[in-house]
Symmetry: C2
């Protein structure tokens, strides 16, 4: 008898009929003899409805009160799902973040989980009940309601799985797993049977929106195996697990693609300490998240700095950077929001050489110019002209043999 944590997102519990469907699926797992904890999000649209109400009464809503309001979304879901499961003749009991005691720091609307005391949930499981836990929410040491930020329900599920030493954390979503590339771009893309935490992290942060990066990180730190699968069918999804020797045989596991960034370059910046801090400090103050940063060696005591920001923040970022550029006597600021970032990801890169070179060669053969390059141990990202984005993904998918199952597929 295993202990399984399942997580269903807002779309899966979007209306009463879908809640009933989730209840049937939960009951089916329970009937197989497992102990079961189910984490749910707010019904799709509810969080936006609540934020809309708050926006109508306040121009700059206090985040403490926003959390009080938002936490109701998941509280309704857990109650309804418990009732739907009980209607099927099974025992179920709901728990808010406060009742579980998912303790967080005090950073309202984006709190970090500090600890999970799951005594009451354990108790419910021992009594044979299915425990239904509100995702996305926690409580501070002073009993203040907090929320974990968008996608926080994934994190709740992983944290519950870790606290309960669960055998598996199943994340049900609207895609049926992690693919070697976006199937909309590459029709031959294959579903991966397994992927390592680090690869998943790179995929998540590079734009594959299957799993929240923070949840993957938490799972990695605590060794929680995650199964990403579809809530609409019964097929096996992708297992996100510790990296093993088998995985290292595969050089590239997947191609990530992101066309929601823009690029800014500051030309001829004085190459002395403190300049970069000043530049990125002001950008950070405006809550703009900088992704890639590239700076090359200096010539004549000056250097060029390029970086990418989310496309939505591009106009604001250009304005800020132009201001700073003047202060620091840089020559010029140029920007481009018609770019795409294409990345190859794979733990095999740690042990295989020449992978980046193969990527650059493949792109150059198509006459695709590379504007920026950034690498990590298990990833190489290139910024290119937006119009070549999809072509680049297809070419790389082909070059690294992903369609043929270069990665050993395994059944769970």
């Amino acid at each position: 008898m295993s202990l399984i944590v399942q997580k269903y997102g807002g779309t899966s519990v979007g209306d009463v009929e879908r809640i009933k469907r989730v209840a049937r699926r939960v009951v089916q797992t329970k009937a197989e003899g497992h102990r079961l904890v189910v984490v749910v999000s707010a019904m799709a649209g509810e969080t936006d409805r609540l934020l809309g109400l708050a926006a109508q009464v306040s121009d700059a809503p206090d985040e403490r009160e926003i959390d009080v309001i938002l936490a109701t979304g998941e509280q309704i879901s857990i109650g309804l799902l418990s009732l739907a499961i009980q209607q099927q003749g099974y025992k179920a009991r709901s728990f808010t973040g406060s009742q579980v005691r998912i303790q967080t720091d005090t950073a309202h609307t984006r709190a970090k989980i500090l600890s999970v005391e799951a005594d009451r949930v354990q108790q419910a499981l021992q009594e044979g009940a299915i425990a239904i836990v509100a995702g996305f929410q926690g409580v501070t040491a002073e009993d203040e309601v907090t929320t974990l930020g968008r996608g926080g329900s994934d994190l709740t599920a992983v944290a519950m799985a870790s606290a309960l030493k669960a055998d598996l954390c199943e994340i049900f979503t609207d895609v049926d797993g992690v693919y070697t590339a976006d199937p909309n771009v590459v029709p031959e893309a294959r579903k991966l049977a397994r992927i390592s935490y680090d690869e998943m992290l790179e995929m998540a942060s590079l734009g594959a929106k299957v799993l929240q990066a923070r949840a993957v990180e938490y799972a990695k730190n605590y060794g929680v195996p995650i199964h990403v699968r579809s809530s609409f069918n019964m097929s096996q999804g992708t297992l996100v697990v510790q990296e093993d020797a088998e995985m290292e045989k595969v050089v590239v596991s997947g191609i990530a693609y992101n066309k929601n960034e823009a690029k800014i370059t500051v030309l001829r910046v004085a190459d002395r300490p403190g300049i970069a801090a000043r530049l990125f400090g002001q950008v950070a103050e405006a809550n703009i998240v900088v992704d890639m940063i590239v700076q090359n060696i200096s010539q004549d005591g000056t250097t060029d700095i390029s970086f990418t920001v989310p496309k939505a923040d591009y106009p604001k970022a250009m304005q800020i950077v132009s201001g700073v550029a003047e202060e620091i006597a840089a020559q010029q600021v140029v920007g481009d929001d018609k770019i795409a970032k294409v990345s190859i990801v794979g733990v095999g890169m740690r042990t295989h050489s020449g992978v980046a070179a193969r990527m650059f060669e493949a792109l150059s053969r198509q006459k695709i110019n590379i504007m920026m390059i950034s690498t990590s141990e298990i990833k190489v990202s290139c910024v290119i002209d937006a119009k070549y984005g999809e072509l680049a993904v297809r070419v790389l998918h082909d070059v690294f043999g992903l369609a043929e199952g270069a990665m050993v597929e395994e059944r769970l």
Copy 2:
């Protein structure tokens, strides 16, 4: 500087515009220099919407889960009202029943308040904030969410006022006070400046829906002065307070009127111990609340028992009673759902004699037949034919001189 508890019902916070209006009124009281705790209900319609969702997933919803779901209604209200008050430039902080620590017993959907620890609310007040408290909800010693039943927000307000030793508990509602009779029936009805807890209790239980009877009882036990007033205008309402010598000078303070009951009579019941217990035991098991019970002296070893039940429960009650009547070999069961109950209420009855006689005389002068009579220390109720109900109210209002201000009106 007084400490005031204000309570606004679901209609007063029914939409975003109304919440803003409540915020302005709250801020106005705060600006007068008072410390302020505001208790709010769920937005009008929200509780029914949530119950509707629950009914769609479950035939017989578990009351624990119902409470988890219902409690979200007030949680949204407190967050929105806090934000609306902050928007006016004032400090506000919201508290759920669990956060205040309104501790109740475990009777879900109709829990009783056991104690109120208001340390955190005190703290907020000391910091100059307006404390916004969720009405209608509490928490058990085991941290389970409970609700107090319909109208429970009045009770929350009174309990908060008691725990904080507030100077006044203001209940804002859609009527502007307590009247000598329903103004729809008696155009000359007068708003009472003051009424005693006991009178208010009789009025509440006799069908005047201004204040929840449980809230009045709690206020009486802990000596909390209540001011019932309109949320739509600034006029003084009615003060519900301890009875004093001035009040006793007035024989009748008000006329209560209830046309939502039906009458059942069991004829020729054997007059021996245990029979009444058996009859009313079975009615109670069906969750039917019996109001008046009248039994006269026996003749030939048998007696007649009459009682009233809510009109909605009348068919079910007739069915149950007919069954019992057969078991206990009663002669016959007769029922009538076309009745009205008219009552005179006043603490002055304790010290004045002949009040009931004056009532009976006034009714008989109009040829109104009295079917049942029931009295308490400060009340006389008569059940009459429904068609004479409004006439009876007007006649009694006149006979006891209520229009002329028999009760000494006082400004607050």
